[in-house]
Amino acid sequence: MPDTSAPIAVEMRGITKRFPGVLANHKVDFAVRVGEIHALLGENGAGKSTLMSVLCGLYQQDEGKILLAQKRELSPVQIHSPSDAFDLGIGMIHQHFKLIPTQTVAENMILGLKDTPFNLQMTAIENRIRDLADRYRLEVDPRAYIWQLSVGERQRVEILKVLYRGANILILDEPTAVLTPQEADELGAVMRNMASEGKALIFISHKLDEIMAFADRVTVLRSGENVATVEVSNSSKTELAQLMVGRPVLFTIEKPPSQLGDVVVAMEKVSALNDKGLPALDNVSLEIRSGEIVGIAGVAGNGQRELAEVVTGLRPTTTGRITIRNRDMTHQPPYQFIQQGVAHVPGDRLGMGLAGNLPVSDNMIMKSYNREPISSGIFLRNQMIRTFAQNLVKAFQVLTPNLETPARNLSGGNQQKAILAREITAGKNLTKGDEPPFLVTVYPTRGLDVGAIETVRRELLEQRAQGVAILLISEQLDELLALSDRIAVLHGGEIMGIVDAAEADIEHLGLMMAGELHI
């Protein structure tokens, strides 16, 4: 058991951080003890990442101070940059790995380290890495290039990197998001091991189960403020959830029984390559019926993105056949897919779903600009564009100052609502309502706050009720279980099995996600 009287390792007092138009942290107090695993819980946008970015020097706080145990005494420190933080023994393991793919593990390890000799002696560095890897049981080859490693291995490199720098305070930003349930358990053991060696660990998460399993104490952030810091052993999932959201939460969502119709989309033994030209999808066969939500589970990077791009025509297939309502769509361009009523809510909102600098109105017509009534002949009809965009904004309650606002300036939730509005409408318009459209959604609730998540999930179920065939790609098992009718598990580009969501077992799904089970 952790020592509750252990000395404080680091303390943040009255931290306030503003971004233009957003108050990300407001007078947050936060302290971590030596040898403790301290969870930082909060919804997306609650200010967890911002607070930790301040601690590791990526952002500068506007107000407040940071105190660090130095020579057994807490003294104020100034952290102007990540290198200041490293010097003070604070290291962050980012959710999006801070690794350079074209360099080796060892090169990544010493990046930014001041005490490395000017002339690099890689052998000595590699040996030190091996020692450290043995001690903390984090197997990795120091000479491997990062791009050759799996996601789990990359995370190990990240942790090793921080340890290599002699960090005493480790911040882990949602470390399990990319792991299978089993891998997450292993990580828990590694964390416990590090804590027992006297490290202080800060563990950012919004997954209550993990926090209950791994953490000693938990600090809950809501809308940028610290609402509570409690001992995990004295708390419960329900209490933490309530603290996080600010109101009682229902863990389930009403899902009416499905009204299955005809097959809308069928993939037969489809294979495809990723951007690097390596195989990403391997003989995938899948059918989705009208009124059905098929969920895709899997650890990120196992072909989800490629799958979504293949069924929307954005990525060429190498073998196999794709049909939509029995029409062969293999090798057709994206435009033809759109014409068949294939709608797509991409995972990367500003990367693919929106042109951030263009006004909301221009973004709303992305799927209908080349048809009546938005355009007539070669000309666009500005009045029609306005009416069309206005209607969508109203119907889906997209909060925007006006239609001329650049889409980039909307909040994540409103961007997502705008994309959903456009895609759902486009799908309906193109099939003229008599044939069921096909909707592909990739990580549809990622980065949204609870309110927006509920809206999006309800909308998906509403579309299902109207007979739309839906492919739902998500990294959250609870979301898949709550919304899907069937769940297919992707591992290494292969479908490991398709199970009925109502009878799905998390243990089994986890094994399939890890590639250990094939049914």
């Binding site: 971004f19 590791c56 990526l58 952002y59 940059s81 990540p82 290198s83 200041d84 933080a85 490293f86 962050m92 980012h94 801070k98 690794l99 350079i100 793919p101 074209t102 360099q103 090169e107 010493i110 990046l111 930014g112 380290l113 001041k114 490395t116 000799p117 000017f118 002339n119 690099l120 990197k161 690097k276 030209g277 500003l350 951030g356 980039r408």
Partner: protein, 320 residues
């Protein structure tokens, strides 16, 4: 063709390619840091004109070299300030530097001569060939490699130093990192902002040196449009070299060789009747061919491609 002719052509190729090597390595260093500097042509021509003027007035070619490098560094700083601090569009800023540099060089060429007169047609100090004892007597290689002006020898040093620096030192590792992923480098405590400034300035200095080699060694003296698009060829050479100093030498020699052959054919135009204007096209045509071939080859190997963050601004607190 006899051996003497080949030696003579290769020897000219080497000296003609030297300014390209300096400038290409300079641009490689800048681009490795993630900054695209399309001002090479403008910086080279400024280095050439001011370097020559400084050498002329001080009667020392070395002072010319130093001044040219300072001018190059200053223009590199301007590019860095505009694109890093003021976040200006990198492509257009580089073009603006070239437009401004070309105009300014033309202006200065008419003003920096004795008593405010023109520089055109003047003869100033220059670097002449120095034969290295023993080494220059090696058959074939000796007269080509070891009978050159001192800046060519300096070029050998720069190539080796740049290669070693890039792949075998801590700072080289950091340089490669900031152009590949500034976010990562920054999070690891590498000062992206400062280093991008540094390498844009260093790159500018080497490009200025390339300009100085033109006006102080290869074609001594100043004339309008002295660089004749070499700065743009450098941009292509960087791609050809896959951002690798060693390969830059190969590319630069290729262009030097084309220059040398051009020289030869113009000198002996009796037997081959190709008009000079069409011969002059060759390096530019070759650049297009090389750009096409290299792009084609790099499609199959992502590892030798451009630094991933090349041309992209980096701003730590900007949320997308």
């Amino acid at each position: 063709m006899n051996a003497d002719l080949i030696i003579s052509i290769l020897s000219i190729a080497l000296v003609a390619g030297t300014s390209l090597v300096f400038a290409t390595i300079g641009e490689i260093i800048t681009e490795r840091s993630g900054i695209l500097n399309l001002g090479v042509e403008g910086i080279m021509i400024m280095g050439a004109v001011i370097g020559f003027a400084a050498a002329f007035h001080s009667e020392s070619a070395w002072i010319g070299v130093v001044v040219a490098m300072l001018v190059g560094g200053l223009l590199g700083f301007v590019h860095a300030f505009l694109t890093i601090t003021l976040r200006a569009e990198q492509v257009v800023t580089g073009l603006a530097l070239t437009i401004m540099g070309t105009g300014l060089a033309s202006f200065l060429g008419q003003e920096l001569g004795p008593e405010g007169g023109a520089l055109v047609g003047l003869t100033g100090p220059r670097f002449t060939e120095i034969s290295i004892p023993i080494l220059s007597e090696i058959p074939i290689i000796g007269p080509i490699v070891f009978n050159q002006d001192i800046l060519v020898y300096l070029m050998y040093v720069v190539v080796i130093a740049a290669t070693y620096f890039l792949y075998h030192t801590r700072s080289g590792l950091h340089l490669r990192a900031i152009g590949e992923s500034p976010q990562t480098a920054d999070a690891m405590g590498v000062d992206v902002f400062r280093l991008r400034y540094l390498y844009t300035i260093v790159g500018g200095m080497l490009i200025g040196l390339g300009g100085a080699h033109l006006s102080l060694a290869y074609t001594p003296g100043w004339s309008e449009n002295l660089t004749g698009g070499r700065g743009w060829i450098v941009i292509a050479l960087v791609i050809f070299a896959s951002w690798n100093p060693w390969r830059a030498v190969v590319g630069a020699l290729l262009f030097g060789g084309v220059n040398a052959i051009q020289f030869r054919m113009q000198a002996s135009s009796t037997d081959i009747a190709i008009p000079a204007t069409l011969l002059n096209m060759m390096p530019y045509l070759l650049t297009v061919v090389i750009a096409v071939l290299t792009t084609w080859m790099q499609r199959f190997n992502k590892l030798i491609g451009a630094p991933a963050a090349l041309g992209l601004p980096y701003n730590r607190e900007e949320r997308h």
